[in-house]
């Protein structure tokens, strides 16, 4: 089955500042890809590049196997987008927003939209710019889920939500992919959310992919080991994903704990620990 989103060797610079370096990963059908990185790592720029909001210098972006989404506006019917802040027209009420969106989307599902609005407890007659951040994010998610999209691009969509709302939104995201033909790219700082819903993990740092793997494989096979500097050469280079220098010793993330030499003990890690490790590590 063709990937819903395929990013190959994307490079993007603003002047002399290279923000994306050879970025490569994909979103297969049925996957929720957790897109993880520090502030400024390039997550938002990647999503903007995918959507054609910024151009890229080299590489290819394919959505539903088509390049250049801007010349295929009908393909955008199948993409739901939520940015890290509310981006809906400020002075509109939800009713007015519904009127507008049903004219813009051929596939707009008004009943589903109002159902989500109701379940998110959002006020119908209040202007969108009077909403709290949490309400705004819920509205943006309701919009993204109401036109039978096949691919969701969520940029920090769960940030600013209270735990109960986050739970609701995460359930919607899980429901979205349950039939295996849709996919989600979910950028987030909240590792518990990623741990809960993601099926694939993509860690980036300074515009580069550090790790792109299925979450279950990471949990099952990956390990962090603490080794002395002179033990580094005994590790199989092919399994070393990243390492962190602590002065006298190194912490090393390996992709296959079974390949570790005898005498080197591995330790398990949480998603939070993995995230911190990768964002502070060197290759």
């Amino acid at each position: 089955m063709v990937d819903l989103l395929e990013i190959r060797n994307i490079r993007k610079s603003f002047g002399n500042n290279v923000v994306l370096k050879d970025m490569t990963f994909n979103v297969p059908p049925g996957a929720i890809v957790g897109f993880i990185g520090d502030n400024g790592a390039g997550k938002s720029t990647t999503i903007k590049t995918v959507l054609g909001l910024v151009s890229h210098d080299t590489g290819t972006v394919k959505i539903f196997d088509e390049e250049n989404i801007n010349i295929h506006p009908e393909k955008k019917e199948m993409i739901g987008v939520v940015f890290d802040a509310m981006n809906l027209p400020a002075h509109l009420t939800i009713k007015q927003l519904n009127n507008v969106l049903k004219k813009l989307y051929n596939t707009w599902d008004q009943n589903h939209f109002y159902q989500l609005i109701h379940s998110f407890h959002l006020p119908m007659d209040k202007k969108v710019n009077e909403f709290s951040r949490g309400m705004s994010m819920k509205l943006s998610i309701a919009v993204a889920l109401s036109h039978h999209a096949k691919l969701l691009l969520l940029d920090e969509a769960t940030g600013g939500l209270d735990p109960s709302s986050r739970e609701e939104v995460l359930e919607e995201i899980i429901n979205f992919v349950k039939y295996g033909d849709k996919g989600v790219l979910l950028s987030s700082h909240i590792m518990s959310d990623i741990e809960k819903v993601a099926s694939h993990l993509v860690f980036i740092k300074e515009g580069e992919v550090l790790l792109s793997e299925e979450k279950d494989k990471v949990i099952e096979n990956y390990a962090i080991v603490d080794v002395h500097e002179n033990q580094l050469p005994v590790l199989n280079k092919n399994i070393v994903v990243a390492k962190r220098n602590h002065g006298s010793h190194f912490s090393v993330l390996v992709s296959d704990r079974k390949e570790l030499p005898e005498g080197i003990d591995s330790k398990n890690f949480s998603m939070d620990e993995l995230s911190v490790f990768l964002t502070r590590s060197e290759k």
């Binding site: 054609g52 993409i79 400020a90 710019n129």
Partner: protein, 213 residues
């Protein structure tokens, strides 16, 4: 496209109503105290004040980052530019019709009715179309946070263009063509205004296609 126009309308319809009330009030005051000498300014003010809120659309869209989100909807970039230009043009036409209505009432109430209403409205249309032609490409280049200066500059440029083109028209040998100048000159102004506006649309389109968000 209809969805984008409807969004523009929802974004600024309150301002349009407020500016329309203001335009009628100011026009009424000018005509009451200034009489026929104020007819040109009153007409221009009505059309200009009506058009002002539609120039605010881009500013309002940008404030809420909707200018970024709109490009994720199933539309093209040219649809966005079309919607801005079409909305502005429609509001300008409504402004022209409103000024016609105001002068119709004024002519029925005054002892010195104006006989050059078409000419006055045409000059007003020319000024606001030139202003729009300048404002939109500049807004796409410099961004909505410079919109106040750009709109002001566009309005002033519109005035200068009206007088500049007036001098050019005055030098044309139109009288030798045996045309009714009270009709020909206003039509000439409107036609040139529309041509500039269309030309500006294509420039704005090129700029907007390359814009990064």
């Amino acid at each position: 496209m209809r969805g984008l126009l409807l969004t523009n309308f929802y974004l600024v319809y309150r301002s349009i109503l407020a500016y329309t009330g203001l335009a009628i009030l100011i026009a009424g005051i000018l005509l009451y105290f200034g009489g026929s000498s104020m007819q040109g300014i009153a007409t221009l003010l009505i059309i200009l004040l009506m058009a002002m809120p539609s120039l605010e659309v881009i500013k309002t869209e940008s404030k809420s980052d909707y200018d970024k989100f709109v490009l994720t909807l199933p539309i093209t970039r040219s649809n966005v530019v079309q919607s801005h230009y079409t909305f502005y043009f429609c509001i300008v036409i409504i402004g022209a019709v409103l000024s016609y209505c105001i002068f119709y009432v004024y002519n029925n109430m005054t002892e010195t009715p104006t006989d050059s209403l078409f000419n006055i409205v045409a000059m007003g249309l020319f000024v606001v179309l030139v202003a729009g032609s300048i404002v939109y490409p500049l807004l796409y280049i410099f961004g909505a946070n410079k919109s106040d200066a750009i709109v002001l500059g566009g309005g002033i440029a519109g005035f200068f263009a009206r007088f500049g083109f007036g001098y050019i028209v005055a030098d044309l040998p139109l009288s030798s063509l045996k045309l009714d100048l009270s009709i020909t000159i206003p039509i000439l102004f409107i036609t040139v205004g529309i041509i500039l506006y269309i030309f500006s649309y294509f420039i704005a389109l090129v700029i907007y296609q390359k814009k990064e968000f």
